[in-house]
């Protein structure tokens, strides 16, 4: 039938799902319907479109990144809870509630979502919100590109979630190692969904990397030399450098796997001259820098948080900067430690083992500098500070487990065991996630104009910390007992079930922590009049983002602050004779819907390739290219806010 051929390999069987999957699809569908209904009932569609979706303001794009990341986080956590529930019950004669294939899809989706759509989303969200403010800029270097990055990220997210309802997702793990991920062993659409979701989101991240690197290098306030830059910006500069060098490798690797699967090439096939281990090398040449891409901004957040709440300038600023760049460099020299068991030989393994241990040195420098910053400071134990202290404990434990695994003979034992799973979750939850939570609480008043409820935040923190330890310490032990990762069933005689149940209880405690966080946001919104930040500087901060009102006006700063010292705002605050503001016209980029359409066509192209609907892929691609040509040849995408209006806005904000 002609019609059937037009749809490639897409047919009605793509909509057949098991019971557990149907529950997932139904709950996502219901949530979507509820959001749609609410917006329609409140007549907020126009507002949403004008104020948010078409905005090129990095402060709004940042919030949208965080909303998408939070939603994806909820899905990723649900996946995690399902995995642990399966492992706690699927022992001996019982086979739990998930089929093996579904279990594999869930752990693949869990890892992919958490790294690409939770962690990366929170990271770019915070960067969008804070970097322009901290360097005293009105905007990023390329506002249109910034919106495009966000929408490509969202398109990737949509494609991944589409796989839940139409077809299925990859069952080949979060990094889809060949030959398993090759057509011969994964003939379905799952791996293709994985490839194109990451490809589209990854290109968005690469463009954002270029954008923020240029923003930091070119748009700083005059007077803010590199060595006067806040450490969060330094950490972002390091991260963006990593993005620029690492993400093209991901683009290539995904493309090659796609070429293998779609055009019958032989890069990573087990026959015909392909080399599966080359994929593992390539993906980790991106993948290892990627984990530092995630952690460096968290380090930057802690540098700001510890200094502000200890009410002291940061200890060892210069060594902090050098530590960041040492980590940036070293992160490209350790990728092989992810597969010591490849059999590269003792010399190669020894080199990568030593390099891996060396990374602990600059990281240690940073931890000690934070602790020395606290020493003799007047510490305020706010929730960001609690996240920091929790981080110091978990991150140090996880780091030591990492150094242990850097010893190749030890790694031969621990490779692919739950010990490894426990290690990297300690780094990513106890490091990255705690860091971003600290940043979100710390900067929340700057973004929304009111503080979060501290009491509920404290509850959330303790649930997270206790839940995290309960969930992952058993995994260290299980790993040493020989439990491998990705197990959906084991024999009762292994004696693992007790520890798996404890781990499951830990997940339940973490879920309570997330519940408190959701509650914290709801309660804080309702109590916002009590917790308003009218000063713009709720924490007695030191850096430029606190020099403007909360939330900041679209142009960030009406008059540009002068920068003479490292903690620029601290100096401005203590200046006895502040200069009188002089307002001028401000030119800002106009809103545009083009990025949404660019991303929509990227989605269409990706979806069509997944299902082999090549005519539609061509339509999508041509529309994509046409839009880019139309946009890049147009001029005058700016509007001007006259000086009088700027004065009006500023005076209404009480900070003229």
């Amino acid at each position: 039938m002609v019609f059937a051929e037009l749809l490639g390999r897409l047919n009605a069987s793509a909509l057949h799902h098991g019971g557990v999957e149907m529950v997932g699809i139904a709950s996502m569908g219901l949530a979507g319907l509820a959001a749609f209904g609410y917006l329609t009932y409140k007549r907020r569609w126009k507002w949403l479109y004008r104020e948010w979706l078409t905005s090129v303001d990095p402060k709004k794009i940042g919030v949208m990144y965080i909303v998408v990341a939070a939603l994806m986080g909820l899905r990723g956590v649900t996946d995690a809870a399902m995995l642990r529930a399966q492992q706690a019950t699927s022992v001996g004669a019982s086979h739990g509630f998930l089929s093996s294939d579904h279990f594999q899809q869930i752990f693949s989706a869990h890892g992919t979502i958490m790294i690409f759509f939770l962690a990366m989303g929170l990271m770019f969200g915070l960067i969008n919100l804070i970097v322009p403010l901290q360097i005293g800029a009105r905007d990023v270097a390329f506002p249109f590109l910034n919106a495009t990055s966000f929408w490509l990220f969202t398109a990737g997210m949509m494609l991944l979630n589409t796989s839940l309802a139409i077809g299925d997702f990859s069952a080949a793990g979060w990094l889809a190692y060949p030959p398993l991920s090759e057509l011969a062993y994964s003939p379905g659409v799952g791996v293709d969904y994985w490839i194109w979701a990451l490809q589209i989101a990854g290109i968005g991240s690469l463009l954002a990397g270029i954008n923020f690197l240029v923003t930091i290098l070119r748009l700083r306030r005059p007077g803010m030399s590199l060595m006067k830059m806040p450490l969060f910006c330094w950490s972002v500069l390091g991260t963006m450098t990593l993005v620029i060098f690492a993400f093209p490798i991901l683009t290539v690797t995904l493309t090659l796997l796609a070429l293998d699967r779609t055009l019958g090439m032989h890069f990573f096939t087990s026959g015909a001259g392909g080399n599966p281990m080359m994929y593992v090398n390539l993906i980790w040449a991106w993948g290892h820098p990627e984990v530092y891409i995630l952690i460096l901004p968290a380090f930057g957040v802690f540098s700001e948080v510890v200094s502000t709440f200890s009410q002291k300038k940061l200890f060892g600023y210069k060594s902090m900067v050098w530590a960041i760049w040492a980590i940036v460099l070293l992160s490209f020299l350790v990728w092989l430690h992810h597969f010591f068991t490849m059999g590269a030989g003792a010399d190669v393994n020894a080199f990568f083992g030593v390099m891996t241990m060396v990374i602990a040195v600059p990281t240690g420098v940073k931890v000690f500098n934070w602790l020395f910053t606290m020493y003799r400071g007047r510490i305020r134990f706010t929730t960001p500070m609690m996240w920091f202290l929790g981080f110091v404990v978990t991150f140090t434990v996880g780091g030591m487990a990492g150094v242990l695994m850097a010893v190749p003979p030890a790694d031969f034992q621990l490779h692919n065991s739950l010990f490894l799973v426990a290690h990297f979750h300690t780094m990513i939850i106890g490091g990255v996630v705690f860091g971003y939570f600290a940043g979100l609480v710390y900067w929340f008043p700057k973004i929304f104009g009111f503080k979060l409820n501290e009491r509920l935040g404290t509850y959330a923190f303790w649930c997270w910390l206790v839940g995290f330890l309960t969930a992952f310490v058993p995994l260290y032990i299980l790993g040493l007992m020989g439990a491998t990762r990705r197990l959906d069933h084991y024999d009762a005689s292994m004696g693992w079930q007790g520890l798996f149940i404890v781990a499951g209880v830990g997940v339940a405690i973490i879920l309570a922590g997330i519940g408190f966080q959701v509650l914290q946001i709801i309660v804080s919104i309702r109590q916002r009049h009590k917790n308003m930040d009218t000063s713009g500087d709720p924490w007695n901060g030191r850096t430029l983002e606190w020099a403007t009102s909360s939330p900041a006006a679209p142009y960030n700063f009406a008059t540009m602050p002068a920068v003479t010292t490292r903690d620029a705002f601290w100096t401005i605050k203590h200046d006895k004779n502040p200069p009188k503001p002089h307002y001028t016209d401000i030119e800002m980029p106009s809103n545009t819907a083009v990025p949404i359409f660019i991303a929509a066509f990227a989605f269409l192209t990706g979806f069509s390739i997944v299902w082999h609907i090549y005519w539609l892929a061509l339509v999508g691609l041509l529309s994509f290219v046409t839009l880019i040509i139309v946009r890049t040849t147009s001029d005058g995408n700016e509007y001007v806010i006259p000086a009088a209006q700027v004065r009006e806005i500023e005076e209404s904000r009480g900070r003229s």
Binding site: A141, F142, L206, G209, I210, N211, L213, V214, L217, R218, L219, I244, F245, F247, P248, I249, T251, V252, T253, T255, L256, L259, D260, L263, G264, M265, H266, F267, T269, G271, A272, G273, G274, N275, M278, L282, A285, E587, V625, I629, T632, T633, D635
Partner: protein
């Protein structure tokens, strides 16, 4: 926007484009590394020396190098504001680019027709992908050049046009450099 702000903005854009080119360097570096790993994995198929004709590839190389030269001349004319010369020189650059692309596609077609397509072996997969990615970049460059020529005819050589032309010429020269590496590593080393 004042004149200095505008100049500042242009130079930021051009700096951003340089950074983009660096990401493209990493992209090609990954493809070169892949080629280096797979170049001997012919899987019983023909190796490079039985497939490549050096005089043919040398002609391609000369076409591309000449196009870089005319592109450079076009930029000099653009800075002088000499619209006619700019259009003529970019026209020649465009035709040279099309000729290069035509030769490359002909080579690909011959290889595939003789049963040596990208499906034949790991070596040929990496060959087609590396050279093809360069060809895809050339295609994008040609498209961009066409769009710019239309713009020059319609809007002249204003500041915004000059900024875009600067980026285009950077891109074009960059592709030349990549081709020199392809010529050396894929063809010259492959033919021995």
């Amino acid at each position: 926007m004042s004149q200095t702000e505008a100049i500042e903005k242009d130079s930021t854009s051009i700096f951003g484009f340089w950074v983009y080119l660096m990401t493209d360097v990493v992209l090609f570096a990954s493809l070169f590394a892949t080629f280096a790993v797979l170049r001997n994995n012919t899987y019983g198929g023909p190796p490079g020396r039985e497939l490549f004709s050096l005089p043919y590839v040398l002609t391609e190389t000369l076409l591309l190098l000449t196009s870089s030269f005319t592109c450079g001349l076009a930029m000099l004319a653009a800075r002088r504001g000499d619209k006619r010369t700019v259009l003529v020189l970019f026209g020649i650059t465009f035709l040279l680019g099309v000729a290069f692309l035509g030769m490359e596609l002909t080579e690909f077609h011959h290889l595939a027709a003789e049963g040596n397509s990208w499906r034949r072996s790991g070596f040929l997969s990496s060959f087609f992908t590396l050279v093809g990615t360069h060809g895809l970049h050339i295609t994008v460059g040609l498209l961009w050049m066409g769009v710019m020529m239309v713009r020059i005819v319609r809007a002249g050589l204003g500041r915004a046009t000059l900024r875009r032309l600067t980026m285009l010429s950077l891109f074009w020269h960059f592709l030349d450099i990549i081709w020199i590496f392809i010529f050396t590593i894929v063809y010259l080393l492959g033919a021995t």
